[in-house]
C-alpha cells in the first residue's frame, strides 16, 4: 500500500495527531474540512495567544479579534459537523476506493494540477495568515506616531516599508490594512452572492412575469455607475465599514444573478429535473436540491473573482476619502495619503498598491483555476 493510499484510507478517522489539533489527520488525507478545522484552530489559538485570553472570553469580546474568533469558531463547528456527517451514504474509509471519487474530489485533483491556481491559493493563504496574525507580525503599533524624528523615512532595516508623514510604520499599517481589505471583500461578496443567487434562481426557475420583473430590476441596478452610487450613499451617510460592506454587496449582485438565471434556465430542462418533478418533489426541493447544486460552479468562480473586485472598489472608495476613515488603516487610504508625495516619498503609495495587486491577482488566479477544475467538460 502506497503512502498516499495509506493516508487516504485514514481519511475521516481520528488519529493520534488529532489530540494536538483536531482535524489534522483529515487534512493529511486531503480533505477540505480538515483544512477548515485546522485553519480555524490555528486562528483561534493564535488570537488567544496574542491576547493572552481564554478562547471562551474571546468569543464575547467586541472588536475585530472577537469577530474573527467567532467566525473561526463557527467554521470549526461546521468542519466538525462535516467530519461527523458526511452524507448518509458516505463510504467508510476502506471502501472509498470501491465507491470511487466524488465529483468534488475529481475537481480538487484537477485544481491541484493547475500550477498558477495553486500559486494563487498559496499567495492568498499567505495574505490570509498575515491578516489573521497581524497583531504578532506587525513590528509597531500602526497608529503610533513619531512626529519629531520618524517622519517620511525611506525603507530601512528598522522600518521595512518606511514611514508616512506622521511617522507611523508603513509595514504595520499595510498589515492592518490587509485585515480590513479582506474582511470587506469577503463580507461584501457574501452579500452579493447570496442576493444574486437567490434572485437569479427564482427568476430562472419561475420564468414568466416574475423573471421579467426581476431582470428589469437587475437592469435598473446595472444602469447605475457603481462608483457614483457608492460615493453618493457614503456621502449621505457616515462612511463606516458596515456601510461600505453593505453598499458594495448591494451593488455587486447583478452579474451573479444573471449568471445563475442563465444556468438555471438550462439546468431546469435537464431530464433529472423532470424526473424530480415526476417523483412529486415540490418546487423548493427541486430548485434547492436538484437545480442549485448543479449551477454553483460558476457562482464559486464569480465569488472568487468578485472578492478581488470588492477589494479594488474599497481601495478606490478609500482613495477618494469616502471609504475607511483614518486613522484606521486600509490599503486605499494609505495610497491616498501618499498620493501627493509620490515623487519624494514613493514608498507610501507603492507598498499598499503592491499589496492590492498581489491580492487581487491571487484571487483571479484561484478563480481561473477553479473555473478550469470545476468545468465538467474539462478533459484530463
Amino acid at each position: 500500500m502506497s503512502r498516499r493510499a495509506q493516508l487516504e484510507s485514514q481519511g475521516g478517522q481520528t488519529g493520534p495527531l488529532d489530540i494536538v489539533l483536531p482535524g489534522i489527520s483529515a487534512l493529511l488525507a486531503g480533505r477540505l474540512y480538515g483544512f477548515l478545522a485546522l485553519g480555524s484552530w490555528i486562528t483561534l489559538l493564535g488570537i488567544a495567544w496574542i491576547r493572552r485570553a481564554r478562547i471562551v472570553d474571546l468569543l464575547a469580546q467586541p472588536g475585530w479579534d472577537g469577530i474573527l474568533a467567532l467566525v473561526s469558531f463557527v467554521v470549526l463547528l461546521a468542519a466538525a459537523w462535516l467530519a461527523g456527517n458526511r452524507g448518509r451514504f458516505r463510504p467508510a474509509a476502506s471502501q472509498e476506493a470501491e465507491a470511487g471519487r466524488s465529483p468534488a474530489a475529481l475537481a480538487s485533483r484537477r485544481f491541484r494540477r493547475h500550477h498558477q491556481a495553486v500559486l494563487g491559493l498559496a499567495l492568498l493563504s499567505a495574505v490570509t495568515v498575515v491578516a489573521v496574525l497581524t497583531p504578532i507580525l506587525a513590528p509597531f503599533d500602526p497608529d503610533a506616531m513619531n512626529l519629531s524624528t520618524g517622519r517620511l523615512l525611506a525603507p530601512s532595516a528598522k522600518n521595512w516599508m518606511g514611514t508616512d508623514e506622521l511617522g507611523r510604520d508603513l509595514l504595520s499599517r499595510v498589515l492592518y490594512g490587509a485585515r480590513i481589505s479582506l474582511i470587506i471583500g469577503f463580507l461584501a461578496v457574501s452579500i452579493a452572492i447570496t442576493l444574486g443567487t437567490a434572485i437569479g434562481a427564482v427568476a430562472g426557475y419561475a420564468g414568466g412575469w416574475v423573471d421579467a420583473i426581476l431582470m428589469r430590476i437587475v437592469d435598473l441596478f446595472l444602469s447605475f455607475p457603481r462608483l457614483v452610487l457608492l460615493i453618493t450613499v457614503v456621502a449621505v451617510f457616515q462612511p463606516s465599514i458596515p456601510l461600505i460592506v453593505i453598499v458594495l454587496g448591494l451593488t455587486g449582485w447583478m452579474g451573479v444573478s444573471r449568471l445563475v438565471r442563465g444556468q438555471v434556465l438550462s439546468v431546469r430542462e435537464r431530464e433529472y429535473v423532470q424526473a424530480a418533478h415526476a417523483l412529486g418533489y415540490g418546487p423548493g426541493r427541486v430548485l434547492g436540491r436538484h437545480i442549485l447544486p448543479n449551477v454553483l460552479t460558476p457562482v464559486i468562480v464569480a465569488a472568487t473573482l468578485g472578492i478581488g473586485n470588492a477589494i479594488l472598489a474599497e481601495a478606490a472608495l478609500s482613495f477618494l476619502g469616502l471609504g475607511v476613515q483614518p486613522p484606521t488603516a486600509s490599503w486605499g487610504n494609505i495610497i491616498q495619503s501618499g498620493g501627493d508625495r509620490i515623487l519624494d516619498a514613493w514608498w507610501i503609495s507603492t507598498f499598499p498598491g503592491l499589496a492590492i495587486v498581489l491580492t487581487v491577482m491571487s484571487f483571479n488566479l484561484v478563480g481561473d483555476g477553479l473555473r478550469d477544475a470545476l468545468d465538467p467538460r474539462h478533459v484530463e
Partner: protein, 326 residues
Amino acid sequence: MNSTRLLAVEDLRVAFRGDEGEALVVDGVSFSVEAGETLGIVGESGCGKSVSALAILGLIADPPGRILSGSSVRLRGEELLAVSPSRLRDVRGGEIAMVFQEPMTSLNPVLRIGDQVAEAVRRHTEFRGGAVRDRVVALLDRVGIPDPANRARAWPHQLSGGMRQRAMIAMALAGDPEILIADEPTTALDVTIQARILGLLDELRRERNLALVLISHDLGVVAQVADRVAVMYAGRVVEEGPSTRLFSTPAHPYTVGLVRSTPDPDRPGDRLAAIPGSVPSPNAWPPGCRFHPRCAVALDRCRQDDPSLMPAPATRAACWLLEDGR
C-alpha cells in the same frame, strides 16, 4: 363513464404554441389500463407518445404547452387534470411513477445513488432514519443492482447505463406506486441489457400487481411484454387491441406497415417494406385520415372524412376500409 378503471385517459388533447401558431400534438387520445396489466403504446417519433405520458402526470410545461378542455385523465375516477397542485405532487411518484428514456441524464450528477433513492423514499413513505437506508438497499437489491449496500454510495457517473436505469426504476418504486409509466425505458441501452430491463419491469408488474404503461417506438419491445397495445399516429390512437392479435392480424394500414417494416427472424433475406414518407408536422395535419398521404390503399373518402376507432376482426382501428368492407 366507468369510474372503476385504475387509469383512464379520455379525449386527451395537448397543444403547443410555436412560431407557426398552436399545434395539436396530441389530438383526442383515449386509453386505459388496469392493475396488473401492461399497455404498450407504439408509434414513430413525434406521434405524441411521450407528450401523452407527461400530460397524465401534469408535467407539460405551460407555456408553451396546454391541455385543452374536454380532456380527461382519471385515476380511480379522480380527475387528475383538475386536482390541486399538492395533490398532484402526491400522485406523482406515490400513485403514478415514471421512468424516463435517458438513464445517462435522468440522475442528478451531484448526488449519490443511495441519497437519490432515499429522497424518494422519504417523500412518499413514513420511513425515517435508519429504516430509510434499509429500504433503499432493499429497493436497489430488488431492481437487480449487485452489492446494493456499496452501490448506494456510488455516483451516477460510476454506473453503466443499465445500472442507472435500474436505479431509476428503484426511485420510481420508492413510493410504492400502482402505475408505472416507462417512456422508452430501453431505447438508450444495448440489446442484451434491454431484454433484462424489460424482464425486470414485467417481474415487478406481476409481483406488485402494477399497471405498466410501456411507451416505445420498438414493436419488438412492446410485443414482448404488453398485454394490450395502442398504436399512435400523428397525435391519435389509430388502432388498439390485444397484443398478440394486433401484431398477427393488424387492421389499420399503418399498423400493417409498422409490422412489415420490422425484421422477421423466420424469414431472413426478405426486403423490409418501409412506409413511404414521414410523419406530417403537427402544424399541418392533413385533412381527413391523417395517414392517407402515406397510405397505399387510401379511398377518396379518406381525404375528407376523419375516421374514428371502429371494430376490426381482431382489434379496433380507425380506418374507413373497415366500414366499407363490412
